[in-house]
């Protein structure tokens, strides 16, 4: 389990081998001299970013980030609002493509394949790198349809029975099945916020992605719903590689990462955690 901190001039902090993590990408142009603490790179990464710069028109949102995401690890990114965490996450499955003024430089590889190469198919990429968004955004269709949509458009199920099975399995993995099994034909938008977010997670895992990106998945939820999603993320790491952006110290602080928060080794990280930032 890792967390990463990256400073304005693009310094990653921590990787799989490094316990002191906590990613904060911030925008203080006066602060130039941060350095990477720890090891942001791992052996045989699932995804790797090298010297990534992202611009919105003329404004640079991310400066020179290099970072690896190891297989079956949960990498948590924390940092102040507007520092580019979400932007970085969205470059990983090219969701930024739909923003016309957004420009990405540098290399991002998914298993040694450059996803920004000309012939990379974004549809395929997004099937391999799924995403859960900040605000729960189920389709305004039934719960069943929400989960079945991905497998159906990708032709993953060859029969109704197979599709039913995928839907049930996905809902079970998102620990939502028992709550909705009698209401699969009810609209997904009628669920509570926490249930909606778990439905979105079920929808994302229904296409069996290799990586799941989560952009502050709990920011709109109450503590109890948040706790359930956190448990879920902990379970999901068995099967998937997960990159998560969060404002919750608890979420970033999983397993041996705890050290980051209790005994920060880097002054910048300490400043952020203790609230002395900016």
């Amino acid at each position: 389990m890792n967390s990463i901190a990256v400073t304005a001039d693009g310094i990653g902090e921590a990787g799989a081998s490094s316990p002191e993590a906590g990613l904060d990408i911030h925008d203080h142009s006066d602060v130039k001299d941060y350095e990477t603490v720890g090891e942001p790179f791992v052996e045989d990464p699932k995804m790797s970013a090298r010297n990534v710069n992202v611009y919105y028109a003329d404004k640079q949102a991310i400066m020179d980030v290099s970072l690896d995401i190891g297989k079956n690890e949960v990498i948590a990114m924390i940092g102040p609002s507007g520092c580019g965490k979400s932007t970085f996450l969205r470059t990983l499955n090219r969701m930024n493509d739909i923003i016309p003024i957004c420009r990405v430089e540098g290399n991002i590889n998914l298993e040694d394949q450059d996803i920004y190469r000309g012939d990379q198919d974004t549809v395929l990429l997004r099937a391999r790198v799924g995403m859960v968004f900040q605000k729960p955004n189920p389709f305004p269709k039934s719960i069943y349809e929400n989960v079945a949509y991905g497998p159906r458009i990708h032709g993953l199920a060859h029969s109704k029975a197979e599709l039913d099975e995928i839907v049930e399995k996905s809902l079970r993995r998102a620990s939502l099945f028992d709550e909705v099994k009698d209401a699969l034909d009810k609209p997904g938008t009628g669920l509570s916020g926490g249930q909606q977010q778990r439905l979105c997670i079920a929808r994302a895992i229904a296409v069996s992605p290799e990586v799941i990106l989560m952009d502050e998945p709990c920011s709109a939820l109450d503590p109890i719903a948040t706790a359930r999603i956190e448990e879920l993320i902990d379970e999901l790491k068995e099967r998937y590689t997960i990159a998560i952006v969060t404002h919750s110290m608890q979420q970033a602080e999983v397993g041996d990462t705890k050290e980051v928060f209790t005994m920060p080794k880097h002054e910048l990280t300490e400043n952020y955690i203790t609230g002395r930032f900016g």
Binding site: P100, R126, G130, F139
Partner: protein
Amino acid sequence: MSKESFTNTAAIQASLKKRYAREKRFQWYGRLAVLTGFVFLFILLADIVGKGAPAFTQQYIKVTVEFDPDRLGVEPGASDEELRKADYLGVVKSSLRAMFPEASGRQEKRQLYRLISIGAEYDLRDYVLDNPELIGQTLDIWLLAHAEAGAYLKGQISRKIPEGDRRVKDIQMQWLDTLREQGRTESRFNTLFFTEGDSREPELAGIKAALYGSFFTLLVTFLLAFPIGVFAAVYLEEFAPRNRLTDLIEININNLAAVPSIVFGLLGLAVFINFFELPRSAPLVGGIVLSLMTLPTIIITSRASIQSVSPSIREAALGVGASPLQTVFHHVLPVAMPGILTGSIIGMAQALGESAPLLMIGMVAFIMDVPGGVTDPSTVLPVQIFLWADSPERGFTEKTSAAIMVLMGFLIVMNALAIYLRRRFELK
């Protein structure tokens, strides 16, 4: 509580009074505005209904008709062909003369004949064709009254008007009074209004041809404007790059929505009729012209509706790997549909009520026949209203209002449909 805050409270209370008074005043302005609107609407509707309602009844006169073979010019047992050519007008005339033998001189006789609609002769023909055994018999038959006679029977013509100023003369009034006393007049629901095309005779004129014309025209309009409009909106909103060209297109679409409709009629005349040589007066050309007129409305409302679809739905669809096209058709369009349909139906309602551009392409011609397709010459409801409003006969005044009532009925139905569809799609 400190002294300062106490003074504040007093000041706020003082200003509150003023603020509430302002709010009250504003509410009253609003109520007044709504009331004024309703009063005008009521006056308009009351006027139209008051004028149009009599058009839904028609007067019939019971005439003792003698089917005299000599007068008809046929033998009993004559073929259908011979019966068709028989002189039914002569029979009507002689029957009337027999009922009112006091009518003498050409002038009076002509006035006597004018009690009955000229359509009566065709009714008699059809009646005899159905029952050929009637030849040689005498029986009472209800015949449609002439429009002027009907107007007198409905009580629309006052005897106080000097005889020279009215089209129903004193002697005709006497005859009609006699017929009424004998129980030989009757008021019936006007079915002809819905089953006949236009006619020079008010009592025979109906809106069926115009209704069919409107239907065919709107059909063409819908089939062209809806798909083109929606696809244009989808492309411009979801796929087109933002550059000078698309900006220019957007400005042009917005401007087209404000172009006077008669200009579209001129365009239709110049391009579709003169250049492409499509048939004149046809719903096909009318529909094309109206679809040009409706397109901007549909495109603008569809774009607004597509724009208002939450981007999170698009992200969600793209996030599970839907292609941009799948995103649009599976997720954006279904959510945008209520708005698109509302806009389209409002556009179609505009097209239904439009007359100016259709005048330019010849749909103002006098057409009696019900059109059978999109290339048959026809007219539409609003143009029919325009034609009737232009006619001097009293009978057409009430027809005009009655046709307006029918047109408004269709508009209400269409708007109700828009609301219904909107609710239905929104519930999903």
